[in-house]
């Protein structure tokens, strides 16, 4: 049952407009679920984890009561959206 629900949720997000792929990463930064191919997943997960930690550090440094809720990295070709919660990362693409 749980498996099916998780798959459903991922499918719902994937069906949003412009989403290229979704990667779910655990607390250590290791991907546990992904809709992209293996090599891309590994690349994204590794790089984004470090960026997320740094961004979170910046926010809490400026105001210790504050915390990071969302991170968006916009590039020429697409955009990476990261929703931490216990470091979970997703990557949608915008046209």
């Amino acid at each position: 049952m749980l498996q099916a629900e998780v798959e459903e949720t991922i499918k719902r997000i994937q069906s949003q407009k412009g989403v290229q792929g979704i990667i779910i990463v655990n607390a250590e930064g290791i991907p546990i679920k992904s809709t992209l191919d293996n090599s891309s997943t590994v690349q994204y997960a590794g790089n984004v984890h470090q960026l997320l930690m740094k961004a979170r550090g910046v926010v809490r440094d400026i105001d210790p009561q504050n915390d990071l809720t969302f991170l968006r990295v916009r590039s020429k070709k697409n955009e990476i959206m990261i929703a931490p919660g216990k470091e979970i990362i997703q990557k949608p693409k915008q046209m």
Binding site: L2, Q3, E5, V6, T9, I10, R12, I13, Q16, K17, G18, V19, I24, N26, P31, I32, K33, S34, N38, T41, V42, T69, F70, R72, R74, K76, K77, E79, M81, A83, G85, K86, I88, Q90, P92, Q94, M95
Partner: protein
């Protein structure tokens, strides 16, 4: 009578002893006082460091694990889904970034000629540059000299020359490496992984592999001449990925209708034939008129393009009825160009179905492998066109080398079909035979001319930087397959 007598001593003085002394001289010298000084030093802190390369271990992911391993996952997903969906919707409606462009580097506004490389001996003998190739690191440009306009068997000695453009003391008139070759060189291709290994095909049908890192005899291996090898000029050599990762075999295509695959045997210095295809007129499926010549005739191969997407597929250009695509079995499909011999074919690095070809009909044709007729035909020049290459960075841009000594660059994203840039090689009307984009420094382009010179051009930012929607436009173009 007899008495004792003592006489005085009588002595004779030595004459020579004195004169010896008189010729004696004595000299003495002494150095100036030597200055010495002492000093001591001692390192206060010592740091040790070492590096080592490591084999690339491909990481294996276990992505389909059971969800019960991750207890909090579902809760988290419920929370995150709302947030993410809201952001996605907002993003798709937002106009905040419309027209927003960022430039990290200085934009190069114009196309300029960086170097004009020549080999004086080859130019004096009137040899032409038949092919150019960059090595895998993008720092060395190699060119092969030969003749394209000669119809007869030629035994003229030719050269393969290389310049290292990253060296500071680059002398454009003197190549760094000059390899003498027995017959004219028709094609050249550097190894995709080893920066010093280069393969070349000759007019006599021989294929050679040189290794410029060797101090003596540069020939790594060669085919020699036998019944199995080419007997006609070899027009294209190319390195093809082999069975194992990191291994490459050499593909050569020549006039006799043969496309052969060779493995390099460094120990024996020979190229060993591993497989081959002979193109025969009977096997080519004709899309239009039936073949008029009876009997089996070998087809002349003028150009070969390897698909970067599908390792089993390559395009072979044959005159005059068109080209064919071959897989491991005999010819699978045939495309018509209706124009004349095809001089050059190139697969698009951005779309698996598209390729462009040029020939003697002064047009560049854009084809998809799904249909025999071209998708688009652009007017390139008033005479023959000898080479065409897609840009490695911009999916919609390709460059063509014409018989008038111009390189025309086209941008399929523009509405007008006229060239977006025309680069004059300054060869006073002599043709330009070949061009190659640098794989690492993608704003550099090498062009080989009939007057025996190689020009290195630095392209403007407009021609090399990819725009936002180019891949999508290319996809759209490829999908315009007529029903």
């Amino acid at each position: 009578m007899f008495t004792d007598e003592t006489l005085d001593l009588i002595g004779a003085e030595s004459t020579w002893r004195k004169s010896h002394q008189q010729t004696q001289e004595s000299r003495s010298c002494q150095t100036l006082p030597v200055h010495t000084a002492e000093a001591e030093t001692q390192a206060k802190a010592v740091l040790d460091n070492s590096t080592q390369t490591q084999d690339q271990i491909s990481q294996t992911l276990s992505l389909d694990q059971n969800i019960c391993h991750f207890p909090g996952l579902l809760d988290f997903l419920h929370r995150a889904e709302d947030v993410v969906t809201k952001e996605l919707v907002k993003n798709s409606k937002s106009h905040a970034f419309d027209g927003f462009e960022v430039n990290w580097e200085d934009q190069n506004e114009s196309v300029s000629c960086m170097h004009r490389l020549q080999h004086v001996d080859a130019q004096e003998r009137g040899l032409q540059v038949t092919s150019v190739s960059w090595n895998c690191t993008g720092s060395v440009i190699g060119c092969g000299f030969g003749r394209v306009d000669d119809g007869d068997w030629s035994n003229e000695k030719a050269y393969v020359c290389m310049w290292n453009l990253d060296r500071q003391k680059l002398n454009p008139k003197r190549p760094d490496v000059i390899i003498g070759v027995v017959t004219p060189v028709m094609c050249l291709c550097f190894h995709p992984l080893k920066p010093s290994v280069v393969a070349g095909g000759l007019y006599s049908g021989e294929v050679l592999v040189w290794d410029t890192s060797r101090s003596q005899d540069l020939i790594l291996s060669q085919t020699g001449m036998s019944a199995d090898t080419h007997r006609e000029p070899v027009y294209r050599v190319s390195w093809v990925p082999g069975a194992r990762r990191g291994e490459f075999t050499l593909l050569s295509a020549g006039s006799g209708g043969r496309v052969l695959l060779w493995t390099v045997d460094g120990a024996e210095a020979k190229l060993i034939l591993s497989s081959g295809y002979a193109l025969v007129q009977q096997q080519v499926p004709q899309s239009g008129a039936a073949s008029k010549t009876p009997g089996i005739t070998n087809i002349e191969v003028t150009s070969v393009a390897l698909s970067p997407w599908d390792l089993d597929t390559f395009l072979v250009a044959v005159p005059p009825d068109g080209e064919s695509v071959t897989l491991r079995a005999p010819v699978q499909f045939s495309f018509s160009t209706r124009g004349g011999p095809v001089h050059s074919v190139h697969f698009s690095p951005f779309h698996r179905n598209l390729f462009v070809n040029v020939g003697t009909d002064s047009l560049a044709h854009l084809h998809t492998v799904l249909q025999p007729r071209p998708l688009l035909s652009l007017r390139v020049s008033d005479s023959y066109t000898f080479g065409v290459r897609w840009s490695p960075t911009r999916p919609l841009v390709f460059a063509a080398a014409t018989g008038q000594g111009l390189v025309q660059m086209f941008d399929l994203g523009r509405r007008s079909l006229r060239p977006v840039a025309t680069i004059d090689q300054n060869t006073s009307g002599q043709p330009t035979y070949c061009l190659e984009f640098n794989p690492k420094h993608t704003n550099l382009m090498a062009v080989g001319n009939a007057d025996g010179s190689v020009s290195i051009w630095q392209l403007s930012a407009e021609l090399t930087e990819q725009g936002a929607k180019e891949t999508a436009m290319l996809e759209q173009l490829a999908n315009e397959v007529a029903d």
